[in-house]
Amino acid sequence: MIPPTSAAIAQQAVPTTAEVLSASTAEANLKNAAITAEVSSTVQKGAETLATETAGAEKPAAAEDANIPKDIAGTYTGDDEKLITALISQFSAAEPLTEEVKVLISDAVATGTRDMKEIYKIAASKAAPKYDMSKRYFNYKRLNVLLAGILLFLFINYYTYSARKGKDMFIRKIGGLAAIDEAVGRATEMGKPVLFIPGIYDMDDIQTIAGVSILGHVAKKTAEYETPLLVPCTRSLVMSTAQEVVKESYLKTGRIDSFRPENIRYLTDDQFGYVAGVDGIMMREKPAANFYLGVFFAESLILAETGHHVGAIQIAGTAMVHQIPFFVAACDYTLIGEELFAASAYLSREPMQMGALKGQDVAKFLIIIVIVLGIIMETAGYHIFANWFATN
């Protein structure tokens, strides 16, 4: 049995095992010089002088434990070829070896190392994937990701099930979302429209989907109060989806006659062309409430400042970390990061949405515990915990 990779060797070795093993034999030969140099730098040469052959070293013997076989000990003074053949047959008895690993064994021997333990360790560490991965269907090094994904999935399912059963789930007050009613009410009182911008990305982005789902809620309010709702879009797919979502909201409120599809328009795909267009709409229509919910880049401050100039109450929400400060500085309310994703659960109170949100929160709590544990372990010098979380 080829021993597990020792942490020290694995951390020292560059290039990675995957790189070396995936190289063809011809390329592996070209890499011999580099590998040989590394091997010689990491290997402590075994016995310096030639010792007498031992019977055990010549004959391949079965390993008694998972680590280095006991009879691979001392040094070997015989022919290189015999040694390589003996080693290969020794290793092959445990696991099938690829051609590359055989080359690696030859390389290790070629460095002049005669300490069998060292040769075995080097070859084993280079053959870190214990199996011939080309025939495997599961990369065990990504087990950590699979476990994390399954855990999150279970949490979400459990809490969704609980929510469906009628269990009450608490969501803390999110200022920006609680202010939606206030903002729409203000627009109605002033007789001015509401402006909603669902970001500048297409429907394939989760933030845009979150923004459009909030649009449905805002549209219900504007339908109730008969306030005009303007939704300039930067993607045609977003425009069609927005039209259908708003229309559905107006239908559910029984105000389909107030629905104006021409208010939900497509401007342009170009980022700054879109911003110029929206600024123009703001200066002409003078909306009393502006919603910026989705993906934004450099245009965030341009929109927010223009909105402030026309006197609108502004509610923004994005997960773009470098635009959040601009929104925080320029808008009245800002939904930061996942508060945007929590919005649809917060507004609709649907069991599915609430369960997903609760599941995420539990996962976050677990992550906090893991981070604290990781800090303690790393400070104490135990890397195994942090290493387990690395994605290979």
Binding site: P15, T16, E19, Q271, F272, F297, A298, H309, V321, H322
Partner: protein
């Protein structure tokens, strides 16, 4: 006194805009020649490119549009200048549709200089252009450059390009340098080219998005980062050719001081006039 601060509190923003205009124009007309201090992140990028040998291939990804041109184009030119001086083979790709034109402009500007007149397209540098879907492009380059870019930006076949001979995947590229302004770029190369193929990645970005890449710098997935106009001016100093970025830093310095002045004035006003 209070009426003065009340007036300041209600200052028309056009006066602020006018002040910014003056703060921009004056340092251009009368340069301040401020010194440029090199930061470690920029130095790391310089060192990485400097460590390459003559004939090594560097992949420069032009992942920005003309809107970010004032910040990133001087950076691009400084880096390409460094590569040309080291006689590296420069392969330009783009993840943004406008990227190839930015690359074309950078190469044209440099090859018009006497120092680089001998640089030949197809032998010393090439512009492969852009393909749809940046994730698919970056992933595809890890498997086969030729399948992603069967021809260059001008339509010349891959196997007719001397510079691309022997270039199959990232393994044949010594370093990647991505000039990024938005979502596609550095993070894509780090998460795919570095994480999955082990390539060395460096980058340059606008100042606003530089903080997004600090976690990659700290985990050594990104080997260096040229940050914004300041980074570009540092790189120009390192290559010994101060240009547009260095001139722009004078403007940035004055505007920063103006902004700080406004902030202080606003806070004094807030104290005197009271909470509003």
């Amino acid at each position: 006194m209070k009426s003065f601060f009340t007036m300041i509190n209600n200052l028309d923003r056009r006066i602020i805009f006018l002040a910014v205009v003056l703060a921009v124009i004056i340092p251009i007309v009368k340069p301040l020649d401020l010194p440029v201090k090199i930061t470690p992140n920029t130095q790391n990028v310089f060192n990485e490119i400097n460590s390459l040998k003559e004939g090594d291939r560097i992949l420069i990804s032009f992942d920005y549009d003309p809107a970010s041109g004032p910040e990133l184009q001087p950076m691009a030119k400084a880096v390409v200048r460094h590569c040309f001086r080291k006689n590296l083979k420069v392969i330009a790709v783009a993840l943004w549709p406008q990227g190839p034109m930015m690359a074309k402009n950078a190469f044209e500007d440099l090859t018009s200089e006497v120092e680089f007149k001998h640089k030949t397209y197809g032998r010393d540098f090439v512009n492969l252009g852009v393909k749809p879907s940046f994730v698919a492009t970056v992933k595809g380059l890890g498997e086969s450059f030729e399948s992603v870019f069967p021809s260059d930006f001008n339509g010349k076949a891959f196997n007719e390009l001397e510079i691309m001979k022997g270039v199959k995947t990232y393994k044949d590229i010594s370093l990647i340098f991505s000039l990024t302004t938005g979502s596609a770029g550095i993070s894509t190369y780090v998460s795919i080219a570095n994480a999955q193929y082990g390539s060395k990645v460096t980058g340059g970005c606008t100042a606003i998005s530089s903080l997004e890449y600090y976690p990659f710098l700290q985990s050594k997935q990104l080997l260096g980062l040229v940050e914004g106009l300041k980074g570009a001016s540092e790189y120009e100093k390192l290559v010994g050719k101060p240009a547009l970025a260095t001139a722009g830093m004078d403007v940035q310095a004055v505007v920063h001081m103006l902004l700080i002045g406004f902030i202080l004035l606003a806070n004094i006003t807030h104290l005197v006039v009271g909470k509003k």
